[in-house]
């Protein structure tokens, strides 16, 4: 962003000086954040990235005063030069209320579901700033308009439950603006949104920063996103900020090995689909889906009776032996439903599913038939922890999966087979004794894959199998899957909302939206020369170097109101004193 506006010697809006966060848990004190030093100048955006559990959230929460009971801090937190530790509680609350705005990952959880948006927007204005309710309502409508919400008056009367995640996130942002904060603390505010919505929200934030001279501490997993929207990026590992880089040049400046590894995983160098070479030679389709349709009965919006909701509508594609097919599309587009029908977890209302010549349109009847199909198609789910029975050890889980198909196996043979499977997903044999709770996300997902491989299937369906994992782990798993595909010749049906993931692994891709296939074809065709408008939007929304988020859906028609920012007001007050 631009250089600070008010002279060269200006205190940072936010300064974390060797911040430490300690927790007293079960009588022992553990230090969770050791040394977090970050400086955010007025109007500057600083990205905070790092592996999961490195202490990003705790650091931000320490600033906002939201640490859980029993937590204490060391080092110093300064807001506009004032050390928080030195302030009285009421002054502290006031300072936080007026200087900091915080936006969270899940806006739905952070808004009171029982109160209207209007209530939420005006509450701080009325109870903290002492505004009159009418004035507060008018200002709330203004703020909503500022974040690009088309009909603010109507929205003010609605409750959070009636709004989409993207809208809610904008409401959250608008509400923080009510008190004219100097800095926005944003903790993974777009992680739960799909790419197009993410772009929307980031565009709103970019606008605000431009108009309000708003500083920002932006916590994210997405290095590309951080690079695209921030001025500087701080990298955290094990509770320490290990280095801070200029966003524009971070790829070249990175010196820490961890940072480099992170960059390599998250920012692929124009690397083409790994499966691209598999397109050679048309093999026979193991799976052919045609005209698939699934209608759900949902309770109607009016409250009476049920409505019919078509989740999958006329979907058709083919998966060839040994190849990898990706299905992409925004949330709710019917990807999972399609996969579940293929695996017999859901019954199609119309259309056919043919697997190696057999008709699989209806779920298997009887145990024998189910076992037979299980040997052909297996599935890996998004949440690795939830997809394992938490009461059983890894060994037991795998043994059970093996036992289904080979009932007569002796114990020693069974153990050998379990070890072989663990080896196939490159897990230590010792892990067989552990229960899911004692494993990391990546390890769990490997176990889930090993379990799927137990049946030696022809088809492996992966429903967002890597979305919940952090970037480095994602890459490991994807590499593993690609290796397995090459070794065993299993065909992959890969479901994802992340185009990058699909590009890495698949040779063909199906793009879905609202239950309909909008486009399909070879990876290179679709991703590089998209035909459908929707595919193009999807591709444009992906953060990358030099990316500028743009508003697509609700472009503002009226000019932004001139807002009095905290900065300008300070100056005016200064003028008066002079």
């Amino acid at each position: 962003m631009t250089a600070p506006m008010h002279g060269p010697v200006i205190a940072p809006v936010l300064e974390l000086d060797r911040l430490a966060v300690r927790a007293a848990i079960d009588g022992e004190t553990r230090t969770l954040v050791h040394d977090c030093t970050i400086r955010v100048a007025p109007g500057e955006a600083v990205g905070l990235v790092g592996e999961s559990g490195s202490g990003k959230t705790l650091s931000a929460r320490a600033v906002a005063g939201l640490l859980p009971e029993g937590f204490s801090t060391g080092g110093a937190i300064r807001i506009e030069g004032e050390d928080l530790a030195a302030l009285s509680p009421s002054r502290l609350r006031d300072l936080r209320a007026r200087r900091i705005g915080m936006v969270f990952q899940s806006p739905r959880a952070h808004l009171n579901p029982l109160r209207t948006i209007g209530d939420f927007m005006t509450e701080a204005l009325v109870s903290v700033a002492g505004a009159k309710p009418d004035a507060a309502a008018a200002r709330a409508a203004d703020l909503l308009a500022e974040v690009g919400i088309p009909d603010p008056a109507r929205l003010l009367r609605q409750r959070p439950g009636e709004l989409s995640g993207g809208l809610l996130q904008r409401v959250m942002i608008a509400s923080t603006l009510a008190m004219d904060p100097r800095i926005l603390l944003a903790d993974e505010i777009t992680t739960a949104l799909d790419v197009t919505t993410q772009e929307e929200v980031m565009a709103v934030i970019a606008d605000l920063r431009r108009h309000r001279d708003l500083a920002m501490l932006f916590i994210t997993h997405d290095l590309a996103l951080a690079g695209a929207v921030c001025d500087r990026v701080a990298v955290m590992q094990h509770g320490r900020v290990i280095e801070t880089l200029r966003a524009s040049t971070m790829r070249s400046d990175a010196s820490e090995p961890y940072t480099k590894r992170l960059m390599a995983a998250a920012l692929p160098e124009e690397e083409r689909g790994a499966g691209a070479n598999a397109t050679t030679g048309p093999a026979a389709p193991v799976l052919a889906v045609e005209d698939l349709r699934k209608v759900f009965a949902v309770r109607s919006e009016r409250g009476f009776g049920t409505d019919r909701f078509t989740a999958v509508d006329g979907v058709g594609f083919e998966l060839r032996a040994g190849s990898a097919l990706g299905i992409v599309g925004e949330s709710g587009s019917g990807k999972s439903t399609t996969a579940r029908i293929v695996c017999g977890l859901e019954t199609a209302d119309a259309g056919t599913v043919a697997v190696m010549g057999d008709d699989w349109s209806r779920p298997a009847r009887g145990a024998a038939e189910r076992r037979r199909r299980a040997r052909v198609a297996q599935m890996v789910f998004q949440d690795p922890y939830q997809s394992l029975d938490r009461r059983r050890t890894v060994g037991q889980t795998l043994a059970e999966a093996i036992g289904v198909h080979r009932p007569g196996l002796r114990r020693a043979e069974l153990r050998d087979r379990v070890e072989a499977l663990l080896g196939a997903v490159r897990l230590d044999v010792a892990l067989a004794e552990r229960r899911p709770r004692a494993l990391s996300g990546g390890q769990l997902q490997r176990v889930a894959i090993a379990r799927a491989l137990a049946a030696e299937p022809e088809i492996l369906v992966l429903d967002e199998a890597v979305s919940a994992l952090d970037v480095t782990t994602q890459v490991e798993i994807l590499t593993l899957l690609d290796g397995i595909r090459r070794e065993t010749g299993v065909a992959l049906l890969m479901i994802s909302h992340d185009l990058e993931t699909v590009r890495r692994l698949c040779d063909r891709v199906v793009v879905m939206r609202a239950g309909v296939v909008v486009e399909q074809g070879a990876i290179a065709e679709v991703l590089d020369r998209p035909q459908a408008e929707y595919t193009r939007t999807l591709l444009d929304s992906i953060p990358r170097e030099g990316w500028v988020p743009r508003r697509r859906l609700t472009a503002r028609t009226t000019p932004l109101p001139t807002v009095a920012t905290a900065a300008t007001r300070t100056i005016r007050q200064g003028d008066l004193h002079e």
Partner: protein
């Protein structure tokens, strides 16, 4: 009103009617299954002659097929004819009507106590720090182990033998005197439920206190009291309401014990007495009445929840 709330109301009414119908069948059949001849119950205390037996059987449709007997009975109940007591030989309405008031007053009194002390102590436990929490936890643990009749006899013992501040017998006359008389019975009725509701309230309030939307309010500097009122308690109230329907209905049933112990002529004491005397029609009607109370109170609670939180009846996946 919000259409979802209206829809909830309509659904409630439908399910209410169905539950009532089914439970009336259950209650009717239960009493039919009673071994022994209702005739002898009706003629209890005298030696019925064959003529009398025939007359009684005819009068009470005892020779009709079961479903017809049910229809007679249910039809009667719907039209306000609740049947005739075997024992008192008067209309069941006349037996029940004068007793309803005192039981309702007793239960209402207990409900006030429960609301004030149960919800109050739950809030204190959730918000006033560890010591208060421990103390309330301790008190409610004991409260949850104190059956109504034990509280009743302890209160009678203390107040009859030692203190004498409150009467331990009868219902009194006139509103204030009745309240005075019902104080101890209401306490004995309320103790267990105070503890129970205190637990529920504490749980609900604590979960709201730790909820993310309350964090948001805190970052925004909203005053504590306001956060508590508008974000914590309001959001906790559906959980409290959800158990209150069953709680109040339960009070009506348990009032039998308090009424018996304190010599109050209410519905509950009539029920026990009627059961002991095998007064089938009375037992049927009171049981049904209690079911109606339960179902209606639950429906009211559900609708209240729907008004506070229309999203609780969110459209979405069925089944």
């Amino acid at each position: 009103m919000n259409p979802r709330v209206l829809a909830q109301l309509a659904r409630q009414l439908g399910s209410l009617a169905l539950t009532l119908f089914l439970s009336s069948v259950v209650i009717f059949c239960a009493v039919l299954l009673t071994p022994g001849d209702p005739v002898s119950a009706f003629a209890g205390g005298t030696r019925p002659t064959p003529d009398m037996i025939a007359a009684i059987r005819a009068e009470h449709h005892l020779d009709d097929p079961v479903w017809l007997q049910y229809l007679h009975w249910a039809g009667g109940v719907l039209t306000g004819d609740l049947g005739t007591s075997y024992v008192y030989r008067t209309d069941v309405v006349d037996l029940i009507a004068p007793r309803v008031g005192i039981t309702v007053l007793l239960v209402a009194y207990a409900v006030v106590l429960i609301a004030v002390f149960g919800v109050g102590s739950g809030i204190v436990a959730a918000t006033r720090g560890r010591i208060a929490d421990r103390a309330v936890l301790m008190a409610t643990s004991i409260g949850m182990a104190l059956p109504t009749f034990v509280v009743a006899i302890l209160l009678i013992w203390i107040f009859a033998r030692v203190l004498g501040w409150f009467p331990v017998y009868g219902a009194g006359e006139g509103f204030l005197d009745q309240l005075y008389h019902l104080t101890l019975p209401a306490i004995s009725l309320a103790v267990l439920y105070i503890a129970y509701l205190s637990r529920i309230t504490r749980g609900a309030v604590v979960s709201q206190l730790h909820s993310e939307h309350v964090e948001t309010a805190r970052v925004r500097g909203i005053p504590r009291a306001r956060i508590f009122r508008r974000h914590v308690f309001l959001n906790a109230s559906p959980q409290i309401l959800a158990v209150s329907g069953a709680t109040v209905a339960g009070l009506f049933a348990v009032s039998a014990i308090a009424e018996q112990a304190f010599g109050i002529g209410g519905l509950g004491s009539l029920l026990t007495e009627a059961a002991a005397r095998k007064d089938v029609p009375v037992v049927q009607v009171i049981s049904l009445l209690l079911v109606v109370v339960f179902v209606v109170l639950n429906a009211i609670a559900d609708v209240a929840i729907a008004i506070i939180d229309p999203d609780s009846v969110k459209p979405g996946r069925t089944a």
